[in-house]
Every structure is written in structure tokens, then in C-alpha cells.
Symmetry: C2
Subunit: 241 residues, 2 copies
């Protein structure tokens, strides 16, 4: 980020992704998938079930968007497909229960999150910027107890260059004054650096297959990577971003 290294101030706005950046999320999907594979294990090889479920999810993404309700409907559809309609009512009810349990998953901030947000919010406006189901995300933000640290909360259906450009314009922020922090290269990092913004990548130990991308070497030069959110204040204080 050489061209920005002379900046002498904090960004005008720091935005944080939520799922798997501020709190755990993907782990609950993984757990539900494991239970779903077990549920169908007498009909179907678990690896095959996993592949079919992913293909159903991808096929349904344009109808359902992201979120637990669409995922639950995709599990029901996959069970029908894999059993050729012979799935039992008991199994369908189990699938609905997996979905409802996910909707009530505990929202525990990841390590360092609360103190870092409390610290940074004293010197810079913070935005929570998440994609997914509006109702689910609002409920999770409320349950997280973190909402008060944020000046702005934005929930969008997709995070791409167009979304970020529109958002920055609406808030009157130049890309060079914006810093995005998140765990998805595809949704949080690459579209922001493509616009000329700053981005801090905080990898989570697992990433949903749909979000996995391999950045080019040139792209790697344009964002920072930290191993946990506790490292963010020092990175910002060193004004490298």
C-alpha cells in the first residue's frame, strides 16, 4: 500500500464484516451439514450428500440469496433428490429443526473483538457491513451486544465492487479514506482494493467453498493480513493503511 503510506490520519471510516470476523458463523453451517449427512447416511454416502447439497445451494442462490432459511430449504430439496422422494416425514422434521437451531445460534464475539471495537470507536466511525438475510443479520447483531460500537450498520444482499462504490458514495467517503476488515477475500477484500480502498484480511480457519478465491500476486500486495483482530489497532496506528 505504498501510495497510501504517507497518510497521516486514521481512515474516515472503518467497516467490519460480521460473520466469522466478529463472531462465529460458518461453524454452525458445518455442524448442520454434518448432521444432515448423518441423517441421510443409510441412503447416501456422506461425501456424495455434501456435494449434492452444495450443488443445490448454488442452483438456488439466485432464488434464495444467502442465509439460513434458504440453506434449510436446500437441505430439504437435497434430501428429496437423494432419496428419490422416499425421505420420511421424520427426516424432514429433523432438517427443519437443524434450521431453527441455527437461527438461534449463540452470537459470541471472537477473541479481541469487544476491546478492539471499543478502542477504535473512540477515534473513528465504525460500520458493521454484512451480507445475507436482513432478518437473520439484524437478530444476530442484536444478540451480539456489539451494536453500540457502530455508527452505521449496513446489511446488503451481495458485496461486490458495485455495492461498495454505491455505499461509499452514499456516505460521502472516498475509497482511499475507507478501510474494510473481514475474513472473505472474495467479499471483503478484493472488491475494496479494486476500488482503491484499504483492506485488512483476517482469515478464519474455515471458509465456505463459495467464498474461496485465490488472489493473484499483484492482489496480495494490495491488502494487509493479520492473524486476529487484536492486531488491528497497531496496524492502523502504524498508518500503513
Amino acid at each position: 500500500m505504498g501510495e497510501h503510506s504517507a497518510h497521516s490520519a486514521m481512515p474516515a471510516l472503518i467497516a467490519f464484516d460480521a460473520d466469522d470476523t466478529l463472531w462465529e458463523n460458518e461453524i454452525y453451517f458445518e455442524t448442520a451439514k454434518d448432521r444432515f449427512k448423518d441423517l441421510l447416511a443409510s441412503d447416501c454416502d456422506p461425501a456424495w450428500t455434501e456435494r449434492e447439497l452444495y450443488e443445490t445451494e448454488m442452483r438456488n442462490l439466485s432464488h434464495f440469496g444467502y442465509g439460513i432459511k434458504g440453506f434449510t430449504l436446500s437441505m430439504v430439496e437435497t434430501a428429496l433428490d437423494l432419496t428419490k422422494g422416499a425421505v420420511t416425514g421424520q427426516q424432514i422434521r429433523q432438517i427443519l429443526d437443524y434450521g431453527k437451531e441455527m437461527l438461534q445460534m449463540p452470537i459470541e464475539p471472537l477473541p479481541h473483538v469487544e476491546e478492539v471495537l471499543a478502542h477504535l470507536s473512540r477515534t473513528c466511525p465504525l460500520m458493521l457491513l454484512t451480507k445475507g438475510d436482513l432478518f437473520d443479520q439484524e437478530a444476530k447483531i442484536a444478540r451480539s451486544g456489539l451494536a453500540d460500537h457502530f455508527t452505521h450498520i449496513e446489511i446488503v444482499s451481495e458485496k461486490n465492487e458495485g455495492t461498495y462504490a454505491a455505499l461509499l458514495q452514499r456516505h460521502g467517503i472516498q475509497p482511499a479514506d475507507f478501510c474494510m476488515v473481514g475474513n472473505s477475500l472474495k467479499s471483503d477484500i478484493l472488491p475494496v482494493v479494486a476500488l482503491g480502498g484499504h483492506a485488512v484480511y483476517v482469515p478464519y480457519y474455515t471458509t465456505w467453498l463459495h467464498e474461496r478465491v485465490e488472489p493473484s500476486e499483484a492482489e496480495r500486495q494490495r491488502y494487509h493480513q493479520i492473524s486476529h483482530l487484536g492486531e488491528l489497532p497497531r496496524l492502523l496506528a502504524e498508518r500503513v493503511c
Copy 2:
């Protein structure tokens, strides 16, 4: 609205509800419900099915919020309940298909909508303000072809006094300079007049049971009612709102 009748200008912002105000929506839910009742007719009296489905929807509202995906999941759950788990895979697949067909429903503007929006947008900023599933609503707005008439598009998970107050504050608009147009007394009209804003009620021929309220005589005095959107420009031009 006597206290506002001396106003000599258009509102600073006119907001429109979308579903059943700008385009048909409830009819697609009604059609899906009829097909669902037929699907289970050999197991269950249709009136009983309808009541059970409504109760399931209400029980699930706090988990699912509004929208087609949650409605589809509630149909699946109701079918399981009513058949004591004996629902067939074929029936479950039919229910998923009802949901997917709803997600692709045509979005045809209701009579007068296009010309009224085109006309009003020349003199006043317009907002599209709808509640429901973010992904569904964005897709419907895109399919409607109406997005360009709106300066602002806001999708919220619930429309109540708190939502309206926060929205107006964010846009720097006083309630007295705001006019909301919609078909739901509960969501579009009563919370706005409670805040001191203006509201124009455009009843649609059917209203979802959950949205039905009976306004008091005092409340009736505080909003305008028109029979279709074509009457809105004259109402605004007469500066009664």
C-alpha cells in the same frame, strides 16, 4: 389534518410501500395457500389447513421474519403437523415448487403507478420503503422496472414507530415534512401518524390477516384515504397533506 392544512409546499419526502401498493403480492400468497389446501385436502379439511398454516406462520415469525422462504418453510412444517409426519416426498416437493414459483412471480405495476411515480419524482424526492426479505425485495424492485423513480430505497425488517423515527432522523426529515403512502394501516399508516407524519391509505382488496387492524375514530381523522394511486397527485396538489 387541520394543523397541517396551511402547508404551502410538497412534502420533503414521499415514501411508498411496495407490496400491494405498487405491485400485487398478497394474491400470490393466497394462490399458494389455495394450492397448499388442495394438496392436503385428502388428509385435512381446507379451513383447518388454513388455520394451522396461519398459526405456524405466527409461531415462526420471530425465527423467520417476513417473506417467501419463511412462508415455504411454514408450509412444510404445517404439512408435517397435519399429516402426523405421513406427508409424502412428492407433496413436500410440490410445496417447494410453490415457493420457488412465488419467488419468480411477475412484478407488474398496479394501475396508475408508473405515471404517478414519473410525475411526482419531478418535484419531490421519492423513497421506496418496504419490509420483508432483503433478497426477495431487491429482486422484485429490479424486476418492477420502477427503481429509477426513487431517490432512496430502504428495505427494513419491520415497520413500526421506531423504524420510522430512525429512518427520518437518518435522512434529516421532520415527521411533518414526510408523507407515507401504502396499503397497510398497521405498517404504513398508523405508526406514521403517531409520529406526526402524513399518511395516505390506499386499500388493496385483500389484506393478510396479520396486517389487519381496526383504527379508532380519532386515528381515522389523521390520515387520508384514496381508492387508487391515480388520486395521489391531486391530493398532494390540494396541499391537504
